[in-house]
């Protein structure tokens, strides 16, 4: 799925960016006695974004850790049903993240909350990653549900 490829590429860039940012910070501190303000804060802020961008690609690729001891003993039809149930679980978690995330962002925006450090980044900008991740999870799980339904119909034909 092109969207997943884009999201996982972005996640990769975030990791490369974090690495370089921290490394430049170390180099400047030890070699030039210069401290970059807010590196810790910036990289911490990137973690929610990293997770929320990658989470939907894990859903699409079925890469989340689960225990499938009992599932493996079920018939193919039952396995398909449980796979759909799993997608519904992802969908529900995504919806909850989306709804509560929008509420959180709106609250921070309305009261102009800022991060407590010297950078003073508006909280709502950083918090946007949560509803975004929720939305991506909803899209990913709906797509999986749709494709599993189509596969079942093809099997019946």
């Amino acid at each position: 799925m092109p969207l997943n490829r884009l999201l996982i590429s972005l996640s990769g860039f975030i990791i490369i960016g974090m690495t370089l940012l921290i490394f430049v910070g170390i180099t400047l501190r030890y070699c030039f006695d210069v401290v970059i303000v807010g590196v810790d804060e910036i990289v911490s802020m990137l973690i929610p974004l990293l997770v929320m961008l990658s989470i939907s690609s894990l859903i699409s690729n079925h890469q989340h850790i689960n225990i499938d001891l009992l599932i493996r003993k079920l018939s193919t039809q039952q396995q398909q049903l449980t796979a759909r149930f799993h997608q519904c679980c992802h969908l529900l978690v995504g919806l909850i993240l989306l709804v509560s995330g929008v509420g959180m962002v709106f609250f921070s925006w309305r009261y102009t909350l800022l991060s407590p450090s010297e950078l003073g980044v508006p909280d709502w900008i950083v918090q946007l990653s949560i509803p975004l991740g929720g939305l991506l999870m909803v899209v990913g799980s709906l797509k999986n549900l749709r494709s599993s339904k189509q596969n079942t119909q093809r099997g019946q034909l």
Partner: protein, 431 residues
Amino acid sequence: MIVGLMIAGFILLLLMGVPIYAALSLASIAALVFIEGWMGIDQVADIVFSRLDTYMFVAIPLFSFMAHILSKTDAVTDLYSGIQRLSRRFTGSVGIATIGVATVFSSISGSSVATSMTLSQVSIPPMLRHGYSKRAAYGLVAAGGTLGILIPPSIALIIYGVLADVSIAGLFIGALLPALLLIMLFSLFTIFQQRHAAKNTVVTDTNEDLPADNALKAPSFRLFFVIALPVAVMTGLYSGAFTPTEAGAAGAVGAMLLAALVYQSFSIKSLNESAQRSAQTSCMVFSIIVGAALFSHVMVVTEFPTLLVSIVASWQLDELTFLFGVMFIILLLGMLLDGAAILLVTTPIVLPLLDQYGIDRVWYGILLVINLEMSLISPPVGLNLMVIKGAASADIKDVIIGAFPYVLLMMLALALIIVFPGIALYLPGQL
């Protein structure tokens, strides 16, 4: 009662094959709604965001990035051949080389799954060629792989350090002697096992008359740099020059330099692939962290830890009995649950009890992680068993039987560290 229902719901969802993060999240959200009504849902995003927005967690993707960069070079093959070359005059040299590679690779990757997957590809074929039984080879690789979550930079120790609010550098240094103890026990067992096998079979892994692997000709200077990287990173961490997060970034840049200058296998494409793989593996861990944060929140809201403390206090157990009891419960959980889930779910519950008994949090952290190591090779859910089954196309029964002696060795190590806490606490005390 709500906590009981939440735990029951979590287990039910797990048994239905629902991913751990979703099972934890949904069971906790249901409990929250039960306690606070639909308003409970409003808190979910806040809890998730504040848990993820933690500076110390940045170390997880960075160490993972370092491991993925190195896994694209021939570093592991070089390590394997170098250690085998050093130990080839001894009985069980190939096995010892496997443990050596597991040790060094663990210190690069911080992940057991990555270590076992790499070892399965690098170590099992030569062990079988050198006369090891399938069970011995699978068991050794499974056990060697578990060292990944104990040897620094262990991701499990980073997570525990954040949850328990203890120094991650202290945990890392505290894990060194216990890791050495396990390495020693594994090596002695391998030598004993191969000596015993040598009496019964013609082909044995004893010596230099066996055909040398091509990789044995790997240049020593490459090996030097591969070993120097984790040593430099850890030295920077222990000396206080780096925070754990900075150590991860320095390690990743060091790995890039190693890949570019020593192995000449560095490209933008491989860098991107490594970064993307580490994003995915980190996200697997973080999604469970998110679920566990919701779970812990419900625990706090219901004041369950306080209740538990009062119940356990009424039993009037001594410190050792309490610790053995907790370890036994975690061992049982380890047979059914993933290690990360156990760590994240049990730690907030156990911490108040530790404080009540005056048990050092670093000591407990090391014991917990060794116990989680056992869970990786305990059936039916042992992750390393599944990794080896998949990577080596092995019969799961052979893998389980082969790994069983190592579970016993880990239990021995655990008991020794409980009885002699100095094994885990001596080095942190010197910091």
